[in-house]
Amino acid sequence: MKEYKLNKDYKEPTQEDVRKYKDFGKLSHAYENMTKRPKPLYKNPKVFLALVIIALLAWLIAEEFTDKEASKEPPSRIEEGQ
């Protein structure tokens, strides 16, 4: 619930009083921080290294599977006939 208080000798704050709270630089900085685009992950050296290692492991695993699959292939028909 709101309460209304009668102010008989209301004194409006002066321009000087209000100026203390005025700071466009601070406001602008807060805005820039909020809207700043996040740095891409790969620009972080540690994350970049981790991504390279993951890619390398994935390539090695894929190679290993390809080799195994190749060795399991059935002999060709010509070989069967002999």
Binding site: K2, E3, K5, Y21, Y31
Partner: protein, 178 residues
């Protein structure tokens, strides 16, 4: 550069928001101060109002209303949010001269201190929307056009609702006399 051009420039780069900030800061500060009392709290809320305005200015459309009305609307929301978050009791400071103007509108001739206090006490028991209408009209001296934009209703509706709110207040005062 006129105001409309300043707004358009601020939409392209936030640094051009500076002249609008300079021009309206004092006005919005006073508007918020009436509703929160403390100058330091008011400073924080006013900064938040301009921060919100800066982030939302791209969606602002010039409909022929003063830019201040849009800022008042943001300010009311910020003040409400402040009291909701802090769970504090809101005290609105009202100038004696403003209450006297309202008393004239209520056809109340007596304007002794005790009477003014009682009218304000009744105002405190009214609904949120009615209070906002009376505050904007009599304590902030907004036009019905501005009230309409601030409360998101038409100008005509703002006028009707304000006079209905005054009628309700009149009945509350009348009920006290019986």
């Amino acid at each position: 550069m006129n105001e409309a051009q300043m707004i358009e420039a601020a939409k392209t780069d936030h640094k051009y928001f500076a002249p609008l900030y300079e021009h309206y800061f004092h006005q919005i500060f006073l508007f918020v101060l009436k509703r929160v009392g403390s100058e330091s709290v008011c400073g924080d809320i006013t900064s938040q109002v301009f921060f919100k305005a800066m982030t939302k200015i791209k969606s602002y459309k010039n409909m022929g209303y003063p830019f201040s009305a849009w800022l008042y609307r943001i300010a009311i929301n910020e003040v409400n949010m402040h009291f909701r978050k802090s769970n504090k009791h809101q005290i609105v400071e009202v100038r004696e001269t403003d209450v006297k103007v309202m008393m004239k509108e209520l056809d109340e001739v007596e304007d002794a201190d005790a009477k003014l206090q009682r009218v304000l006490k009744h105002l405190g028991t009214m609904g949120d929307q009615d209070q906002k209408l009376i505050e904007l009209r009599f304590f902030d001296k907004c036009s019905f056009k501005e009230i309409g934009l601030i409360l998101d209703i038409s100008e005509g509706n703002a006028k009707i609702k304000t006079y209905r709110a005054l009628d309700k207040l009149k009945k509350l005062i009348g009920g006290e006399r019986v």
